[in-house]
């Protein structure tokens, strides 16, 4: 597993079908940086799939040039080219009469690897996508769930270790929960493999989650905006992009930021075994009571504190907390649940700070201003 991504460069690429007045893809130029995930997102029929399929020449461009890692893709034999470019599609496109192992081994087989090497590779790929080779290698696609089929589809696309991966709505046909898992797994894989991935979807949330960069495409595959997800969310280039980003752009932007990225506030805290009278309220209305290992337990109001003889058992239990790894959107949810500040905990569950609504709104405003 060595081959890292190569840069893809499309230069003035046009696709015109005979007998049609307008081009399906009109003068498309883009650089897909090596090792990044670029998501093409746009409405149905905008030409995003056509554009992607020109990269592996399932559709031949009418004019323009395409290079992969500096090599002119239009000069390579199309079958040879496609063996070097991973391809995953909706509903996996697995061959129903091939076993899982045979499906994954197709491209290595086409490349003429010997059987032993193919077998070892198949096993490695199944491990990589989280399918136990002993259990699944001999099964037919029909005997797998939709999510498992997609995993096999991704394994097949990666089997020959291509530097470039094209994915055409690969998670479009599975339920939302499985889709979430598959997206997480793709990100984990990408963290290890650093392929150059072109990913087509019409789901903007998926684009935000997966993309290092997002290309929002309009009619005839015109690039309406090509930028990082947070820049697009914070500052859509025009009304069409804004419409596609949809309602709740600010909330979506919050899913891109982690609690560890922002400045945390502090609360007045006290150990549960401390004497109530010794607690310095410091002008605050609430005290956060921590257990022996500094984990948050309860919020105690100053009035309660005055009359209590012990901190144990008084106040309102902490309902929800977030970790440093949580997104700001999770933090916002915790605030709503808590009815105020969200408590932030560290890796052992210990209190590290608080987060309030003002901080979050400031972050959103700063994003807007900087984008």
């Amino acid at each position: 597993m060595a081959e890292k991504g190569s840069e893809i460069r499309l230069d003035h690429v046009t696709k015109r079908y005979p007998g049609q007045k307008v081009a399906a893809v009109d003068d498309f130029s883009m650089v897909v940086p090596a090792g990044q995930i670029v998501v093409f997102v746009g409405p149905s029929g905008c030409g995003k799939t056509t554009t992607m399929r020109m990269i592996n020449r399932l559709i031949e461009p009418t004019s323009g040039t395409i290079t992969i890692g500096g090599e002119d893709a239009l000069r390579i034999d199309p079958d040879e080219l496609r063996r070097r470019v991973g391809y995953a599609i909706q509903q996996a496109g697995l061959f129903p009469h091939f076993t899982v192992a045979q499906n994954i081994g197709v491209v290595p087989g086409l490349l003429g690897w010997d059987k032993k090497k193919v077998d070892a590779r198949v096993e490695e790929m199944m491990d990589l996508v989280g399918l136990d080779p002993g259990e699944f290698a001999g099964r037919f696609p029909r005997q797998l769930s939709g999510g498992q089929q997609q995993r096999v589809g991704v394994a097949r696309a990666l089997a020959a270790d291509p530097p470039v991966l094209l994915m055409d709505e690969p998670f479009g046909a599975v339920d939302p929960i499985t889709r979430g898992h598959l997206q997480d797994e793709l990100l984990r894989l990408q963290g290890e493999l650093h392929k150059t991935i072109v990913f087509v979807t019409h789901d903007f949330d998926e684009a935000v989650k997966l993309g290092d960069r997002i290309a929002v495409l309009g009619d005839r595959s015109t690039i309406l905006q090509y930028d990082t997800p947070d820049a697009i969310l914070a500052n859509p280039a025009d009304d069409t992009v804004a419409g596609f980003v949809g309602a709740g752009a600010s909330l979506k932007a919050l899913t891109l930021l982690r609690v560890r990225d922002v400045e945390l506030g502090t609360a007045v805290t006290a150990r549960v075994d401390a004497q109530p009278s010794t607690v310095d309220i410091d002008g605050e209305r609430f005290v956060l009571v921590l257990d022996q290992r500094d984990r948050p337990l309860r919020w105690v109001h100053q009035n309660e504190l005055r009359h209590a003889s012990s901190l144990a058992g008084i106040g309102r239990p902490v309902q929800d907390s977030v970790t440093l790894q949580s997104t700001l959107r999770d933090a916002l949810e915790a605030m709503v649940n808590e009815g105020g500040r969200a408590i932030v905990t560290g890796s052992r569950g210990e209190y590290v700070g608080t987060l309030d609504l003002t901080t979050v709104t400031e972050v959103v405003q700063r994003l807007r201003a900087s984008a």
Binding site: E80, R83, G86, F95, L110, F140, A157, L166
Partner: protein, 244 residues
């Protein structure tokens, strides 16, 4: 499962019972000299061999013509051929087999024989395999073809490794129908000197020899049922796994 298995074995068993019963009845009775000249082991075996050979040759011609024609008619560059091929095969099936057979016999002006019988009978049995090959290849999910090309299979690679195996169940079903048509129409082979069980039926009818007539009919029917059963076995064994 068990019901299916019983059904599966019932067919050859019935054939065995009917043919065995008829043969036992015929050979246990006293036969006239005329009957004996037809109803003896060597001439019955000869009729069986002729009949089977005709069936095999007809089926072979059908497969060799209809399957490649079906493949060609489903390639993107030759789609327009599909209706043409189907129309021709339709004519073949619609025309009365016996008429075509005799016309061909007269046309060739030859003395008849296996090949004169086989060609028109193949023409007659062509349609099921041709139609099922076309339909079978057309019903392969286009996204599988796309996936195959997309991961670097050549066009012929996709045809042989993806399209063809997935079309096999339908092609085999068509083949079974064609086999039954061939074994049935091979009874006409006698009219062009190709022999077969038709000879017994014809002799029995013309000379009013009931036993010869019954034996010929029973053997022809038994062979047809048996061939159909062999077709079913082929469907089971050669259909791709993973689909059922």
């Amino acid at each position: 499962m068990t019901a299916e298995r019983i059904r599966f074995w019932a067919q050859p068993l019935a054939v065995l019972l009917i043919v065995g019963g008829v043969l036992a009845w015929v050979f246990s009775s006293t036969l006239t000299a005329t009957e004996k000249s037809t109803l003896n082991a060597s001439s019955l075996l000869q009729a069986l061999a002729d009949h089977l050979l005709m069936t095999i040759v007809v089926t072979a011609i059908v497969v060799l013509v209809a399957v490649p024609a079906g493949v060609v008619a489903t390639r993107p560059w030759a789609r327009w051929l599909a209706p043409v091929f189907l129309a021709v095969a339709n004519v073949g099936q619609a025309a009365p087999a016996l008429g075509v057979l005799v016309l061909w016999f007269l046309f060739t002006g030859a003395s008849g024989g296996l090949w004169v019988a086989a060609l028109p009978l193949a023409f007659y049995s062509l349609l099921p395999v041709l139609r099922n090959t076309i339909v079978g290849l057309q019903q392969v999910d286009p996204s599988l073809v796309d996936a195959g090309r997309g991961i670097g299979m050549s066009a012929s690679g996709v045809l042989w490794r993806v399209e063809f195996p997935l079309a096999t169940p339908l092609i085999l079903a068509g083949l079974r129908t064609s086999l039954v048509l061939a074994v049935g129409t091979a009874t006409f082979g006698l009219f062009v000197n190709a022999g077969g069980f038709g000879l017994l039926i014809d002799t029995g009818y013309k000379l009013n020899l009931m036993k010869v007539l019954v034996t010929g009919s029973a053997l022809a029917a038994g062979l047809a049922l048996l061939v159909d059963w062999v077709g079913a076995v082929i469907e089971q064994w050669f259909g791709p796994k993973g689909l059922r």
